[in-house]
């Protein structure tokens, strides 16, 4: 079996996974403890209203028909309306409205640990049992142990104190870079993401950045929450990066490479680095999963109107279609990332997919 056959096989395998998730959601929504009619109409509705809504929602149809409708609706991203959180608004609208903020947060939350955690881990792995290694490893463990909600609260408290004279290490976070104080911008809030436009190049809409200041403001706004959201994965990457590095450094092929007389630089970057990345890949891609869960708290405390906060509201207020739709979207995202992971495997590690 070639690498690409393997990849296509993985791709096809996601289809049954998606269906089982949908079936699970269907059972949860239809057979769960919350009656959709009661949740939607509230307790004061009369029997006539209830019957009318049952009919309208198709709850009187045979179960298999409801199941087919449900699956087709979800696959075509036709999620219907929210019941409680933003009553009567289209769920897709709400999700599309909230998604950019979460994507922006997630993008930086993955990028930052990648460029801090992995280099630190590799450094520690290349210089094992030195002071630098100890400092990096210990720092990583402590950082991972700190809960996100606590970090959020402390970060906010520290940052807002830098505002008037209470500078931290001589840094006033408000005036650093784009000046928040002069613009009356809060260090909390939803990024506006209004710096991107598209221009048509040969009939192709090509995105470009039209307002660099707005971009800088949005980056500055998202940095603290992104750093916190990525903190756990950053520490994980550091530790796994260190172990992977150590293992690879001590393996036989490195010895051979050394014996061949390759320079240290080539050994590290061409041989060790690529091999050490393999165990890191699933860690990086599964971060997305952590980010979706973690963004609930970070978005709440930093007042970012994103998917995490809406998911939290939907769950706590019994908004079943909304929670179901978001769960479905999250599933699709995670499946997509799994496929991406497999794709990257086939690129980085030529051995993948070959018969064992």
């Amino acid at each position: 079996m070639s690498r690409w056959e393997y990849f296509v096989k993985r791709l096809l395998l996601t289809v049954p996974v998606l269906f089982s998730v949908l079936t699970f959601l269907f059972i949860m929504l239809r057979a769960g403890p919350i009656d959709p009619v009661a949740a939607r109409l509230g307790p004061q509705a009369g029997a006539a209203d209830r019957e009318q809504l049952r009919e309208r929602l198709g709850l009187n149809d045979p179960l298999w028909e409801q199941y087919v409708d449900f699956i087709t609706d979800f696959i075509t991203f036709n999620f219907g309306q929210s019941w409680v959180v933003q009553a009567e608004r289209d769920i897709l609208d709400i999700a599309v409205n909230a998604a950019p903020a979460t994507l922006w947060l997630g993008f930086w939350a993955i990028l930052l640990p990648l460029f801090i955690g992995i280099p630190l881990g590799f450094y520690a792995g290349l210089n094992p049992n030195t002071l630098g290694d100890y400092a990096a490893s210990l720092g990583g463990i402590v950082w991972q142990a700190l809960p996100n909600f606590w970090l959020c609260v402390i970060a906010l408290a520290v940052l807002r104190r830098t505002r008037e004279g209470g500078e931290l290490l001589g840094i006033n976070w408000y005036t650093l870079g784009p000046d928040f104080a002069a613009r009356n911008i809060s260090i909390t809030g939803t990024p506006r993401l209004e710096w991107i436009s598209t221009t048509d190049v040969l009939m192709f809409p090509l995105p470009y950045i039209n307002d660099w200041t707005a971009l800088a403001i949005d980056i500055k706004l998202i940095l603290p929450p992104a750093l916190i959201l990525g903190s756990a994965s950053m520490a994980a990457e550091l530790r796994i990066g260190r172990t992977a590095m150590l293992e690879t450094v001590n393996s036989k092929f490195v010895e051979t490479a050394k014996a061949k007389g390759l320079s240290d630089r080539v050994i590290v970057w061409k041989h060790i680095f690529r091999n050490a990345l393999i165990p890191l890949l699933p860690v990086i891609t599964s971060e997305a999963f952590l980010l979706i869960g973690g963004s609930v708290i970070v978005e709440q405390i930093f007042n970012i109107n994103g998917l995490g906060r809406i998911f939290f509201q939907a769950l706590t207020q019994g908004d079943l279609p909304m929670a179901g739709a978001l769960l479905f979207l999250f599933t699709v995202i995670i499946l997509g990332l799994n496929i991406l992971q497999d794709f990257l495997y086939t690129v980085i590690d030529p051995r993948v997919g070959y018969d064992q």
């Binding site: 004061q44 006539a48 009567e88 809060s186 007042n303």
Partner: protein, 621 residues
Amino acid sequence: MPDPANGEAVESTSRRRLLGLLGGGAAVSLAGCSDQEPSDGSDGNDTDGEDGTDGEDGEDEPQRTNADKAQAAWERAVNNPLPEDEELRQEAYIEMEEAVRDDAAVIPLYHSLTERFWYDYVDVPLTGALGSHWQQLNTTTVEGQSELNLIASTFDELDPIMSTDTESSRVITQIYENLTSFPNGVPEVENQLLAEYEVSEDGTTWTFTLRDDVQFHDGTQMTAQDVKYSWRRTVESENSERAGFTLNQPVGLGIDAETDDDGNVVADSLAIEVVDDRTIEIQLVGPNPDVLDVIAYSSFSVIPEGYVGDIDGYDGEVTHQEFSTEVANGTGPFELDAFNVDEDVTVVRNDDYYGEVASVEAVNWEIIEDSQAQWTYALEQNADIFEMPTFAYEADAVDAEADDRGRQVGTYGPAGELNEEVNYVGVAEISTYYFAFNVSNTERAARQAIAYVMNKEQIVQEVFAGRGTAAYTFLPPAIWPTGNDGYNDFLDAYPYSLGESDIQGAQSVLEEAGITPDDPVDVTLTTYESEVFQTAGELIRDLISGTGINMSLETSQFSTLQSRGEDGDLQMYSLGWIWSWPAVPYGMFQLEPRNTDTSTMPTETNGFYLDWQTLLEEEAE
């Protein structure tokens, strides 16, 4: 994850929604639950009720019971609704309070305290006991800024008839107006769109004459037809969550209307007659002394006739979905500019306002749920007026004195992270949080003993850092029928402990009833998920242990607690009541013994879950 202050705030908003639902009438109940309680007094109020109260029946039998006293007082108040009977009603309500107190059926715990802070560059009128969401911001000025910036919590609609929470009211009050209002939330009703009114002799026909100089934001004149249309929407629209406030008495206006077989109001049958462009006449099912108070409630806001097509005979200029979040057309001092649900709301000045045109060009609310984010936003001076989370609050930093309305007015700070002195007002709200008992399964001595050991001041101190008012009466002091002096007299006569834990008192009342540590009774306290009540419950349990009461605590979800209450399946529980308008009966109706019958809840009765009717003389026989 949410800290206490925020948790409480969120809770109180949602609680208000739920309490409102109860006030509106029906609520969900689990069918058939009474079958599961074969031996308890919850489903039958004949023989079981007698057993449960044997202890004191022996002494009380010659006189009427406290329940009888409360029932008689309530009936007296309801049967004498005319203005000249005011004094008689006041006495009756106080008699009900006495009966509740003496029977310890309900033990009030605290009235919530709202504290508001604003920077020195803002000049804003003091708010009153009804809450800051009643305040129209046209009289607020901000030095050196053209905008006023505030914080709100999440809400998702601007339709007045859907609004049941304080957060949406903050914005709705700026855009829409009523015939009457409580300016700045001070509980004294004043005319808003109303010029004058007349009442017929029997108190059932009210004639309202409207101001003639009022225009909607689109420039059309406001007329009596608009009022009729707006009020019809409150009962006919499927979006209305406040039909009860229009139709019911005494918990509402009680406008006459026809209903069909399903109990829905027949289209255009509401007894509102447009006499001419400026005059409407309403016909009530019975006299109602609180009409002017009730029509100030936001569901009675006036919108242009035919603006939304959700009632018979109108196609609507805008769809209801647009109306709830995108467009608005009222008569208020501000017009809706933009509403980004869960992010922010902006209203801009209405330059053609008939009253005082606003000094600020716009008001912006940033929607923030988390108290850390709120506090950050306030410290950055991005919010000009704000509330303070308990983690940042230092009681010593308040320097305030009581004014003639009992508000604490003064300054706060500099303290903690706040580097400057800010203005301060603290107001006890018209709300009461309480413990109550299903009296059919908890005997009176046990209830009284719990009242004896409960030190409300200590609980308020421990849980809110003193940011609350200990409650000794169900009616908050701000609307006490006989005023401040009368309230103090009532406190002087308070039989249980005032500001202390009277364990001696508890022991002696238990001993009299034959309850001793060797022969104890069990009491289960069910609280909803509230830090306040859970802490209070722990304090009470610790104090009462060893006196003959074994108290166990349990926590249940708010909705579960309500369902169980309606099934009579609670013993001691915690809940709260927030007045939507400052009228005594809007609150007291829940203490009418016959209205506390859980066996007919939620359809026929909608009082507290007390089963107090089991102690009525006739029922006990």
